[in-house]
Structures are given as C-alpha cells and as structure tokens.
C-alpha cells in the first residue's frame, strides 16, 4: 500500500475531521432546537457525509492508477475488491434511501417524540467509533499493529455501546412512551429505520471481530490488509447512514 502522508499527519487529519464532524453534529442539534430549519439540517448532513466519504472512507481510492499492473497482481486484485465493495455500498444505500422515502412519505414534516439526550448520545458514540476506526486503519497501513489492535478494540467497544444504546435502551424507552411498532405508522417507521441500521451495525460488529482476531494473530501487513480496509470502509458507511437517519428521526420537523 502506498501512502502519501506520514503516519502522524494522517492521524492529525483524522482528528481534525472528527472535530469538524463533532462541531457539525452539535450545530445540527442546536439548529433543530432553536430554529428548526429542515433544509439547513439536510445541508449539514450532506456536508458531514461528504467529510466521512472523502477523509474516512477514501472514496478517491476508487480512481485507481493500476491499469498498467498485471491483472493477477495483488495490487490489481485489491483494486477490483475495492470496486466490488463500493458497488455493494451503492446497492445497500438504496435500501436506506427507500426507508428514507418511506419516512418522508408517511411522516412528512413531523417526527416521533424521542429522548433527545439519548439520541445525541448514541450519535456521539457512533461518531467516536468512526474516529477510532480511522485511527486503526491508519495505524495498520503504517505497520503499527499495536495501534491497530487498540483502536479497533475501542471501535468495537463503542459499536457495542451504540448497539445496546439503541436496542436495549432507546427501544424500551420508546415502547414505554407508547411508541410501539404496531401503534402507528410513526412507530413502524422508527423501529424499521433503527432496526435496519442496527442490523447493519451488528454485521459491522462481526466484521470488526474478524479483523481484530486475525490482526491479533498477525495476518495483516502494511502492504496486505484488504480485510481491514473493507471492514473500515463498511463501518464508516454505517456511520454515514446514521448521519442521515439521526436528523430524519430526531431533528427534522415538528413533534407528531
């Protein structure tokens, strides 16, 4: 793997992007509370997603300059794998896009009455996990196995916190407040969107466990760690989905 940046500047960039994302998240929270401007929230979400796509998911790597490589070479194969993964993410984003269409069609400019602190909390946890995931991948691509393991383990821990936060805290809270899957279209949309996202988080967790285990057994090197890159990209994709789902469920519109 060739890299244009040295490790510390790559890490610094990751931190900087995390700070931007955190500030923007705080910003959208306050926009929602004080001026409740839906188009502005959409713009903020798009900016956040763009930052993650470019700086954390490295979408520019798709523009691969490996056309002169042997087709059987590992570099060329990794390029093909990368294309395959992004095609999968494109496909998967249509599921979430469809859910978003359903939410807009059924709920319009209303939103369910949810616990705002909890929502902001799990969002922060997921964002933080993306930050550590980025550090993990950066470490691996600079041959720092220990840094990779530490950061990936932290990502995994935060992923589990997010998953439990949604399924074991947020869902029971909503149920107690009368928002059940079968009570109304609002409840149905809420549980379907968070459920579909949580299912993807679960698969991401499995992926993280695999790379953590294989990383601990020394299966990855600076040059050869496609599985790490794949898991990382997938994990950030889950974050991007939540970047849109969080405002769609918690912030946009009036209380139903």
């Amino acid at each position: 793997m060739t890299h244009t940046q040295d490790k510390s500047s790559a890490m610094q960039q990751g931190l900087l992007i995390f700070i931007y994302l955190a500030v923007l998240t705080a910003l959208e929270f306050f926009i929602a509370i004080f001026i409740s401007n839906a188009p502005l929230l959409v713009v903020v979400a798009i900016v956040k997603a763009g930052l993650v796509l470019y700086y954390y998911m490295h979408i520019y790597r798709l523009n691969q300059e490996d056309q002169n490589e042997e087709k059987e070479s590992p570099v060329y194969k990794t390029g093909t794998n990368r294309l395959g993964l992004w095609l999968f993410l494109l496909s998967d984003s249509f599921v979430f896009g469809g859910l978003m269409v359903a939410r807009i069609n059924l709920l319009g400019l209303t939103r369910p009455d949810l616990n705002q602190i909890l929502g902001l909390g799990v969002t922060a946890v997921l964002l933080l996990s993306s930050f550590f995931m980025n550090r993990g991948e950066t470490a691996m691509s600079h041959d720092d196995r220990k840094g990779f393991l530490t950061n990936t383990a932290l990502t995994l821990a935060l992923a589990l916190v997010f998953l439990l936060g949604v399924v074991a805290v947020e869902w029971p809270t909503a149920l107690r407040d009368g928002l059940t899957p079968d009570s109304s279209a609002t409840g149905a949309v809420f549980f379907m969107m968070t459920g579909m996202h949580a299912f993807h988080v679960l698969t991401g967790v499995l992926f993280l466990i695999i790379i953590l285990r294989n990383g601990a057994r020394g299966k990855y090197t600076e040059e050869k760690h496609w599985a790490v890159e794949a898991a990382t990209t997938y994990w950030h994709f889950i974050d991007v989905v939540w970047i849109f789902f969080y405002p769609a469920l918690y912030l946009i519109g009036k209380l139903a």
Partner: protein, 680 residues
C-alpha cells in the same frame, strides 16, 4: 442399484421421496390437528421437498445440491421449531392451519435458505477467510457432468447452471400458464370450480395462485436466463479467465435455488391471490403463501444484485489488452446497462416486500391507512424496481440481437457507438418512469404527465436500436440458420411490443387500457421479443461453444416456425380481447362479451408454443451427447471465443489476446478484431 442409470435411480427415488414426504406431512398434520386430511398443504410441501432431495440423492449421492436441500429442509424445521419454542415460553399459539404459525414459517424459511448455502458449501471459503485461512485460487474440479450439481467457481459451469435452471423454471411457469389458459378457453368455469380442491385451495384460489406463480416464476427464470447468458458469454467476450469474483458468482447462482424452492412452496401453503405485484392491502391479509412468495423474491433479488455487482466489476476490470470501452462487444455494454439497474433498484422491491412482511408479522402499519400508513407508498417502492426490471429482462436480449446480427449479415453493426449508448440511456431513463404503472392508483394527479413524457422518452433510445438493426440488415448477405431466425423473430416481435407501448404510456388511453388483457398482450410481446427469442438465439448460437456439438438444425427450424406464428396469434388475441373489455388476472368472463372463440384460439396457440418449447428441450438435451460435432468457428464469427476450439478449455484462453481492430467489421478484408499472442 449401482448399475442403474443415475437419472432413473433419481426418478425412482423422487417417487419414493414424494410418498415419504406426503406421509410425514400427513403424520405431522394429524399430530397437530387431530384429523387426517389428504388435502393437507404440509403433506404437499414435504412431498415436494423430500422428493426433490431424494431425486438428487439418486442422481449424484449425498453431496452438492443434495446436501444443500437436506440442510434447507432441516434448517427450515429448526428455525420454525425455535420460534415455536419461543412462542411456547411466551404462551402464544403454537400451531396454525399450516402446521407452524406464520412467524415460525418465515424464520424457518430464512434459516433454511442460509442452511442451504452452508450445506452446499458456497460459504466455506468465506468462512475460512474469516478464520484467517488461505484458500486456493483455483479449485480442483471434476470434469464430469456431476460438477454441474455442486459448487463450481468456473463461470462457464455457472452460466450453464443458470441456463438449465432457467429452462426448468420456464417449463414449470409455462405449465402453470397452460392450466389456467385451459380454464379460460371458454367462458364460465369448467374445471377450476369451487368444487375443485388442491391442497385446501378451491378452483378459484388455485387459479389465482397459478396465475400469480406463472408471473413470478417466469420473472425469476428470466433473471436466471439473462444471468446465464451474461455469465457464460461476457468473460469469454472480454478475454477474461473468469468473473471478477468467482466465489460470489457461485453464491449468486446457488442462492437462486432456495429462492425457487421458497417460491414453489407458496403453491402448497395456501397460495396467494395478488398476482406477482403483491399489492397491499390484499397482500397484507393473503394466505401464508404470500410470505413465501415475498421471501423467495427477496432471496432471488440477492442473486440478481450480487450477480450484477460481479458483472460490472468484471467488465470494468477484466478486459483484454487494448479493449477500450468502444471496442467492447456490444453484449458487454448491454450487460452493464442491465446490471446498473439490477444492482441498485432491486433493493427497493426487496424493501417493499420486507415492509409488507413486517406489517403481517408485527402489525407495523406502513401500508395500513388505519394506522396512518399509505398503500400507494408500496406501489412507488415496488415499481421503482419493477418497471426498470423489464429493462433488466430485455437489455441483454437486445444486446444479443445486436451481437449476432452482424455475424449472419456479414456487415458491420450500424452505428456501434449509438447502440452502445442507447443501452445505457434506456437503463438511466428507466429509473424515471415507474409511476406510469400508477395512473389509475389514486396517486397525485400532477405526477401523471411528467411520468407519461419520461415513459415516451424510452422510445428514443429503443428506436436507435431498431434503426441500427434495419440499417445493418440493409443490403447484407443474410443467411438464416436457426440463431438468425430467432434474432429476426425477436426484432419483429419486439417491434410489436414496442408499438403497443405508447398507448399504455399515454395517460388518456391508459385510463382505458389499465388492467386489461391488452397490457398482457403488450408485455408478452416485449418479453418474448426482448428475452425469449434472443435467449433461444443465444442458446442455439453458443451451444457448440459449450458442448462441441451443435443442435439439430431441422428441429431448430421446426421450433421457430411453430412458435412464432402461434405466438403472434396468442398475443394479438390477448390484445383483441383486452380492447373488447377482458380484465386481466380473472378466472372468468361474460359470454355476452362475445370473444369465446378468440380465447379458444389463444389456448390452442398456448399449447402449440408449449409443444415448440418441448421440441427445443428434447433437441437441447439430446444434442448434448448426440449432436453433430462442431468444434471450429461454426458461424464464421470474428468474436474471440470462436477463434479457439470448442468446447471451451477449462481456463478459457491458453494464450491471451489483444484487441487490434473494431469488433464488427464484417466484410472488410485484413481487419482482424483480436490478435492472439504467440508466446507463453
């Protein structure tokens, strides 16, 4: 048993298995319901499952697909049993009319699907990767016929697997059509009456189930058919050793098998009466078969999505040296166009079906107006895939027409770049036309006119293709072996389908035509012209490449000349009765409408088409071992795969080739398309 031919052993065990399964089903039903009913749906289902499993056991023993089906049956029972156990703890009803309750069956169906994939071994390599083990790049493979019944990573084997399963499903779906077509031959109900009973469905329910299953089984068979053509031909045309992701390729094929099992299961478990569209609110309260239809289609969707992903990656990354975008074979262009739709839009039909499944299972009110839901939303999500899906069906076929036409006309393809771009244009415009299915649905009226114009716009790139075909034919040295007959037939039939499209796209006329038999005639024309005829052309054309033998030319021509006129009579009849007021999807019509004789004609023609396909199937399977040898460049084609001997070697080209000219410069001297390197 040892010296009996495997296929007879299989058929014997099929009967034995069907009886055992029937017995097990009766026993289970008796254990739960305390009555013996010979119409037991569960008995029918087990009869199918265990019969099929034992058939393959007789054929190849306990491996490959036999293991997969065994795992699927056990997985289904385990999944259903688990949910039943949980229900027992929660104090809910344990059993329903179809043995298990609906949630138990749904979880069972999904667990069964995954079990099938594990059982057949499609997940083995990925499991090893997850454990950090290496797997060999090329599996050692048996070169005998038995490899077709297990996981193979060779794209040619997978292409043939897809094709044969597609032909099997076409036969099943066609048989269903013949059954209800027979009922329609006369007004009034003749045999599918309320007294008729089949697995607890009366005649009218059976009509609805067969009609719905005809639609969906044909759709799945088309998806498998195009995947077969693309899998077999595209890597050969590109000069690649295989697809980009061989394991994913095997996965994509094999997951279609449990999908087919799930869809066929719905025949027994109450059926469903919505037609293949599955609109709520009817689908929200249809029998259990509805869930199996939804699940089967969902799983088949993954086959389509992952196959499309693989194909796009293959075309983008695996081309021979110097094969630039506009020197690709035209079929590769149409395959990419199809895959763009299949990769993305398929998720939306999967989602729409999931939402109905959850509405049924958990009472989530997405489409229930009482809970603030909206049935129209389903139609938007559903048609966002299901209209572009027809372009998924026809684009590869239109690509086949453009690919084969120059070979048999001995002239360059007219306007190559325009034809290439027209496929992409059809795919992209196809994303913006879905609501033309909903002009009468009660959606917002201001949406009608934009969708009318976007739909009419599709005629432009399609017209480009027709213009190219006609100009290619112009003053060509036309020969008409069987593949060319089907190419020409496809063009004419698709023209009829195309010309009957605009009346349906135009709001004012569609308000009259919607849900009539005119629509049925229209789409049978487009699908036969865009898929069935080119599919047969491709089979006759590439059969020698796959087997080293050719199919019988005489019977091929009989197939064509029997099928084509019958088909015209059938669809023109459909359009006639449609214009006279025949509704689609219903079992009966009023004698006073006065088109009994047309219906009788259509039924006869339906049977003639079936006869022609039967002739084809016999020719196909007989020629595999007994056809005339054809190992050279039978069609005198410029395409790379015909420059090497047939059947194709296991790893495709022994020497790589580079592209040195235009693909379709037929009739020009000293203008080769590819040059094989001499070293290595």
């Amino acid at each position: 048993m040892r010296n009996v031919k495997p296929v007879w052993r299989g058929l014997l065990l099929l009967v034995v298995g069907a009886l055992i399964g029937y017995g097990i089903g009766l026993g289970l039903d008796f254990a739960v319901q305390r009555v013996i009913s010979f119409q037991s749906p569960v008995a029918g289902l087990f009869s199918l499952l265990i019969g099929a499993t034992l058939f393959f056991f007789g054929l190849i023993g306990y491996r490959g697909v036999t293991r997969g089906l065994t795992f699927q049956v056990l997985g289904t029972l385990i999944g259903a049993g688990l949910i039943t156990a949980i229900r027992a703890i929660m104090g809910l009803d344990l059993f329903g009319a179809f043995l298990f309750t609906e949630p138990a069956w749904v979880v069972g169906g999904l667990v069964g699907t995954i079990s099938f994939m594990a059982g057949i071994g499609a997940l083995t390599d990925w499991w090893k990767w997850a454990l950090g083990e290496e797997t060999s790049e090329h599996h050692e493979e048996h070169q005998d016929w038995e490899r077709y019944f297990g996981v193979s990573l060779d794209h040619k084997v997978i292409g043939i697997q897809y094709t044969v399963v597609a032909l099997l499903l076409i036969s099943i779906g066609g048989t269903f059509a013949l059954i209800f077509r027979t009922e329609l031959a006369q007004s009034q109900l003749q045999f599918l009456t309320t007294n008729f009973k089949l697995f607890d469905q009366n005649g009218l329910q059976a009509y609805n189930t067969l009609m719905s299953l005809h639609g969906i089984i044909m759709i799945v068979s088309i998806l498998l058919g195009i995947a077969g053509m693309m899998n077999y031909a595209v890597p050969l045309l590109l000069g690649a050793a295989d697809m980009a992701f061989p394991r994913l390729n095997a996965f994509s094929f094999w997951i279609a098998v449990p999908a087919a099992v799930l869809i066929l299961s719905s025949l027994f478990l109450g059926g469903f009466d919505t037609g293949w569209t599955g609109y709520p609110p009817l689908s929200a309260r249809a029998p259990l078969g509805m869930q199996f239809y939804f699940m089967g289609m969902f799983v088949a969707g993954w086959s389509s999505i992952l196959g499309a992903l693989n194909l796009i990656a293959t075309v983008l990354r695996m081309r021979a040296k110097d094969m630039t975008a506009f020197r690709m074979p035209i079929f590769a262009w149409s395959a990419v166009a199809t895959s763009i739709i299949a990769l993305t839009a398929t998720q939306l039909i999967g989602l729409s079906f999931q939402l109905v499944m959850f509405q049924r299972l958990l009472g989530m009110g997405f489409f229930d107006p009482d809970k603030g839901g909206n049935p129209i939303l389903f139609q938007h999500l559903f048609w966002f895939y299901s209209h572009p899906a027809v372009y998924v069906f026809i684009l590869p076929g239109l690509g086949i027409i453009s690919e084969l036409l120059p070979v048999f006309v001995r002239k360059p393809l007219f306007g190559y770049r325009w034809v290439a771009m027209s496929s992409i244009a059809i795919a992209l415009v196809g994303f913006m036309v879905w609501a033309h299915h909903m002009f009468t649905s009660g959606m917002n009226e201001y949406l009608r006119v934009p969708f009318m114009y976007s739909t009419l716009l599709v005629a432009v790139p399609t017209g480009v293709k027709f213009f190219s075909w006609v100009a290619t034919l112009w003053k060509g040295k036309i020969t008409t072996p069987t593949p060319m007959l089907f190419v020409l037939g496809g063009i004419v039939v698709f023209l009829l389908g195309g010309l009957t499209g605009p009346p349906n796209a135009t709001v004012s006329t569609d308000l009259q035509l919607h849900d009539t038999y005119f629509i049925v005639g229209h789409f049978h024309d487009t699908i036969f012209g865009g898929f069935v005829f080119p599919f047969f052309a491709a089979l006759y054309y590439w059969f020698p490449k796959a087997t080293g033998r050719r199919m019988n030319e005489f019977w091929g021509k009989v197939h064509f000349w029997l099928m084509t006129p019958s088909f015209f009579a059938l669809t023109l009849g459909m359009m006639r009765v449609g214009l006279l007021g025949m509704r689609r999807r219903i079992a009966d019509y009023d004698t006073a409408l006065g088109f009994d004789s047309t219906h009788m004609l259509m039924t006869v023609m339906g049977f003639l088409i079936a006869l022609s396909v039967l002739i084809f199937l016999i020719n196909f399977f007989h020629s595999m071992n007994h056809g005339e040898k054809a190992e050279g460049n039978l069609w005198n084609s410029r395409s790379p795969e015909w420059q090497v001997p047939s059947p194709m070697p296991a790893h495709n080209y022994d020497q790589p080739f580079e592209v040195v000219g235009e693909p379709y410069d037929y009739g020009l001297v000293n203008s080769p398309y590819v040059k094989f390197s001499t070293d290595r």
